[in-house]
Symmetry: C2
Subunit: 418 residues, 2 copies
């Protein structure tokens, strides 16, 4: 139980973390509403965040409680019809509050293997049901229509997975808090200042990449990845957070180390080899490879979780093409912790990664105002889902090719060379 960790965390660090989330992450404004999605086991954290939000001037804070046990039990024991029907009240909550301009804080504390052993057909069906029901909300999420931030808080199950040799669950939770504070630059009350510097540094690199106007990337490492990836004509590299349609900056993820864009959906050829386990629908997919031709997955394999990988690629429209390429240095704060987090938010910020599924529309010029057909015409992938996976390594090599055919070494030995 997460509540057990209460004596183990440093309250000052926790307050600094929450201030970072409310001010820099959500950029919460006076009079704005906030929705907090949080595990019931981490109620102590949601309560602190709620108070901080009200102090920042929130007009109302709505709790959207979740519970791993209840979710898993439903998948195991409920009537089969349940997974084809999304709760209308939750759709109403998400639609109406996002229409009213609320901010959304997602506190992730999920057991990476929460759905191990659950019927994958039920998982796939409910994933599609959810995507369809919350299409309006997810549309706002990927186009800056709302300000939102995803963060993590340790749960016992997750901490035990990350630190299996800890003497106790309490120690595992405490160790995970340490890593979270380190990765989010929290300490000595200087998180806001450190994040300003960090964002400026990311911005400079984003500008350089955008100035090159690469037409394609050549991506290779010794793990077996060998990809030729075209980029859309008007692609945009992003990073250092986002700017919402209301003009206010926010950080969709804390931490964030990545600089990302969208591949040309029909222009990816070759093979990618995963270098970290992937958490998909509460199951682990490990030691996997995926091969593309003209952007489309033509074969795949995994030493464990092959069924989940198959479901991911085959069941949801658009999940058989790439929607994101993200560059993260092997020598980055999270990567340097040497910890495998079994959590996409952390692992994706420790490694170069790709995503199957939807591209962020803002990764092509004017994309945030385009409908789905226009996005496809602009060369980026469209899907109701988006699943990151990591393929970074210490010897990652990425070469950018410009319109004139000039080759520029972007990544050498796992780190930026530009």
């Amino acid at each position: 139980m997460c509540v057990m960790s209460k004596p183990l965390y440093n309250e000052e660090l926790l307050e600094e973390y929450i201030e970072l989330v409310i001010r820099k992450g959500l950029n919460l404004q006076p009079g704005q509403q906030l929705v907090i999605a949080c595990s019931v086991d981490c109620a102590f954290f949601a309560r602190l965040a709620m108070v901080a939000a009200y102090k920042a001037g929130a007009s109302n804070v709505h709790m959207r409680w979740v519970d791993d046990f209840c979710s898993r039990t439903r998948f195991l024991m409920a009537d089969d019809s349940v997974f084809d029907k999304y709760p209308a009240w939750d759709k109403l909550l998400m639609d109406s509050l996002s229409d009213e301009g609320a901010a959304f804080l997602n506190v992730i504390a999920t057991d990476p293997e929460v759905f191990k052993g659950v019927d994958s057909n039920r998982l796939s069906r409910f994933s599609i049901t959810t995507s369809n029901a919350l299409k309006g909300y997810f549309g706002k999420i990927i186009t800056g229509g709302v300000r939102w931030t995803t963060i993590t808080v340790p749960s016992e199950a997750w901490a035990n997975k990350v630190f299996p040799n800890a003497a106790s669950a309490e120690e595992a939770i405490s160790l995970l808090w340490d890593r979270i504070f380190a990765a989010t630059r929290v300490g000595d009350g200087k998180a806001l200042e450190r994040w300003s510097n960090h964002i400026d540094a990311l911005k400079r690199r984003v500008k350089m990449l955008n100035d090159y106007r690469f037409t394609e990337l050549l991506i290779k490492n010794s793990a077996g990845t060998d990809l030729r990836m075209k980029l859309p004509k008007n692609h945009i590299w992003k990073g250092s957070g986002d700017v919402a349609k209301d003009g206010l900056p926010f950080l969709p993820n804390i931490p964030t180390e990545e600089i990302f864009s969208a591949p040309y959906a029909n222009g990816v050829d070759g093979t990618v080899v995963g270098t970290m386990p992937n958490v998909f629908q509460g199951n682990l997919i490990e030691d996997f490879t995926i091969t593309f031709k003209d952007g489309k997955v033509v074969s795949y394999d995994a030493k464990s979780g092959r069924e989940q990988l198959a479901n991911m690629i085959n069941d949801i429209p658009g999940m058989d093409k790439l929607g994101e390429i993200a560059l993260v240095e092997y020598n980055s704060p999270i990567s340097n912790t040497g910890v495998l987090f079994y959590n996409t938010l952390y692992d994706e910020n420790a490694s170069c990664h790709l995503a199957l599924g939807s591209a962020y529309p803002g990764c092509v010029e004017g994309g945030d105002s385009m409908n789905e057909e226009q996005r496809k015409a602009a060369g980026i992938n469209v899907s109701d889902s988006h699943q990151d996976f990591m393929f970074g390594s210490a010897d990652m090599s990425i070469v950018g090719v410009t319109a004139s055919g000039k080759e520029v070494v972007v990544f050498k030995d796992g780190n930026f060379a530009i």
Copy 2:
């Protein structure tokens, strides 16, 4: 934190308690949905109840999590407009699931003084807002339109209030569990059998009271209560649970010791003196008296919580008349524990009580099918609220008067004399 109590309860007793609630309380049917309202701090209990419900054949179990801290913080810190607008999604949840025939389990673990110090105007307004928004659901609750059960589970704040001298919160929670199991006849796996006997005994007494066809009751004790209460012509005494419109029996409350009916709304004269503190909107009202003339409150006072009492009577239409008279022996299992529970579900089943506000429509013949105007015409009170308060004592005397003027001693020295 309620979760701390986990090692302190006896798992077998807990399972027996939950079985009683699911089978006898809700009478949950295969294929039926269930809504569980529960504090996040008592998640362990909600999880056990969810599993038991699925084992009993529930098609889907929906969680409606609540949290004292978040509720209190909203009242203290949210924008003032919040209290005039009910969350549309929660109304949709309650309306749609009650329309679909779901059962409703309310797990009460609330701190009796959760809203101490909160602006009473906000409490009153939100109470009216809630009553209006959930009118459809509450209508089904009071007319057997759904099967529902209210029970309690100890929270730390509540247990500490009941057992202020306990050595620790853990001990207080453990003591409160003991009292809950005793009061609900849980032990040795025989709860279902004991409840069958208990319900039969209540039924016999209910029949006797109904056969008398009293026209009025004369109620007196040394605490100062002196009431002349007319009863509606076609009044019905109820108790031993209820029968829903689908024909299935259920227990709205566990425990239940009361036999109750509705006073004639315009036929109550005299004064009643409260004999236990009353928990109203998260505040305590203590040492109070209320005087009626022709059914209507004409004066009231309280040594503490007078403002809350004034709000109760004045702010919600219909709360200035009585809607319930309930008979509970001074020599009853809960009363005999000698514990003041600061919880209406327990204290009302340890004492004769009245309620301001709505009568249960089923307390007059055909009432469950009447609209509000018809209920008023039948002589019973109508309100969007209902608040019990205790006035029982060891020397309670109640005399029933029949149509022919014959006087029958119903209660003598606090216990039934018939």
